[in-house]
Structure formats: C-alpha cells, structure tokens
Amino acid sequence: MMPDLGKYQNEVLASYGVTLLLLLGLLVLSWYKGRCVAKALREVEERRTKNG
C-alpha cells in the first residue's frame, strides 16, 4: 500500500510532515483561542446579568 518514493523519499515526507504540522497547529490554536474567548465572554455577560 505504501508507495515506494525512491530517492525523493525525504523530500516528499518532509513536505507532507511540515504541512500537516503547520495546518494542525493553526487549527488547534484557532480552536483554543476561540474556546478561551467564548468562555471569557460568557463570564463577562454573566457578571453583567448578576450586577443588573
């Protein structure tokens, strides 16, 4: 199933590896920041509701 990449194996694997790493990093950071901001906003809104 695994293709024989021959003499370009390192180049191909490095390209795919770095791309996956960068895309996953971007995805995780975007998701994490979104979660933190949503939580912080919820807290501020709850505080405002409590304080009238």
Partner: protein, 242 residues
C-alpha cells in the same frame, strides 16, 4: 436577503454557526480523499519521479496564499468604504491562515527545488514575490497587534492590504511578467493543453477544493472569535465607565 445584512454581527454569528460544521466536515473529507488519491494512487512522473507528489500540497497552498490576500483586499475595501466591522474582523481573521499557506508554499517549494534545481532558494521572480507576500502577512498581523484602537487598526491594516495586493498579484503572474527564473509556468490552466496530465489533475483539483473549504471553515471560526473578543472588550469598557 442582501449580503450586507451579514454586516450585522448577530446575524453573522447565527448563520456562520449553522454552516461552520458543514464546511469543516467537507474540508476534512475532500482533503483526506485528495491526499490519499494523490499520495497513494498516482504514479511517479517521468521527469520528477515521486517528488511530483509534493504538487498536492504546494499548488493548493500557493493558490490559497494569494487568494487569502485577495479576500482580505475585498473585505478591507468593504471596511474602508462602508465601515462594516465584521468585514474588517474577517480580514484580520484570514491573515494568519494566509501566512501559514504562504509558509507551506515556500517550504515545500524549497524542499522540491533542492533536487530539481540544485538549490533550496533562488532570487527568482515568483519565489521572491512570495517571500515579500509572506513579509506583508507578518507586517499586517503585527500592525493589528500594535494598535489599541480597533478602528484605527482596521484603517491602517486596510491600507497596508491595498499596498500588499500588488505583491499578491505579482506572486500569481510573476512567471508571465518575467520569463527568466527557475520556477516553471502554472500547473493548472483553463487551456487544457497547458496543465498537468489528467492522472495528477483530478486529485490536485480535489486537494485544491479541500484547501478552499478548510480556508472558509477557518475564516468563519476565527471571525466568530474576533467578533466575540470585540464584544467582550466593549462590555468591559462599559463596566469601567459605569
């Protein structure tokens, strides 16, 4: 319904919340299918060997690097002309995605260039304009972070985006403007005579579709975060005044 109605943050949040999971799911399906097809099921190229498999990430990333800046140009113009906050925040949200795509295009290009051209880097028109585009992305993100007032930041970054558009376009057409340089002509063309062979063409199209969908999903996700962050800052400012 008019497109301008999405300038209302509440409506944008409602609509984007509904469509985001679809874009995210579709992007995963198309990206995974395209990559599996390209990586496992396509043959080696006669002149490039197995290094041809890099095309499935390099070309879509390079396309998105340019098109992300073009999307930022449109939303920046909407901000400058109509003062819709959501459009300025969408431009801000797209910048790190575009920068990542530019980095992927530069990195995979350099890795492919070493065995093919005998060098990781050359001051070739397309490579150089891509490096400048990357620096524009960095500058754009830094400018947003450096200015406290969000409206002033949106104004200045929009102007920077207009200037950077020259380099985004140059990155796309550099090969046509200057025939000298190492980088070959575009791999895809409307004229079927010019683009890559069918065996690589269809998985490549699928990968491009996957990158486009991923970009849309990430822009929606990040714009929602920016809208929430802006609302939070506004509420905190109101609390301080009260």
């Amino acid at each position: 319904m008019s497109l301008w109605e999405y300038a209302n943050p509440k409506l944008f949040m409602q609509t984007s919340g509904k469509y985001l999971p679809w874009f995210a799911g579709l992007s995963v399906i198309t990206l995974v299918s395209g990559m599996i097809w390209g990586y496992f099921l396509t043959p080696e190229a006669e002149n490039f060997g197995s290094s041809v498999k890099i095309i499935y990430i390099h070309v879509p990333a390079a396309l998105m690097a340019i098109n992300a800046w073009m999307m930022m140009l449109v939303t920046s113009l909407v901000w400058l002309i109509r003062r819709h906050h959501v459009s300025a925040l969408a431009a801000k949200a797209a910048a790190p995605i575009g920068m990542t795509m530019t980095l992927i295009a530069l990195f995979t290009g350099a890795i492919w260039g070493q065995p093919m051209w005998g060098t990781y880097w050359a001051w070739d028109p397309r490579l150089t304009s891509f490096l400048i585009l990357f620096l524009f992305y960095l500058g754009y993100i830094a400018l947003w972070e450096a200015i406290d007032d969000p409206d002033t930041a949106a104004d200045l970054t929009s102007v920077l985006c207009l200037v950077g558009s020259v380099f985004a376009l140059l990155s796309r057409y550099a090969v046509n403007f200057w025939s000298q340089g190492l980088h070959q002509a575009a791999s895809l063309s409307v004229d079927k005579e010019e683009h890559v062979s069918d065996v690589y063409y269809w998985p490549l199209l699928l990968c491009i579709a996957g990158f486009v969908l991923l970009f849309i999903a990430l822009v929606l996700m990040r714009t929602r975060t920016e809208i929430r962050s802006r609302r939070m800052k506004a509420l905190i400012a109101r609390e301080r005044v009260a």
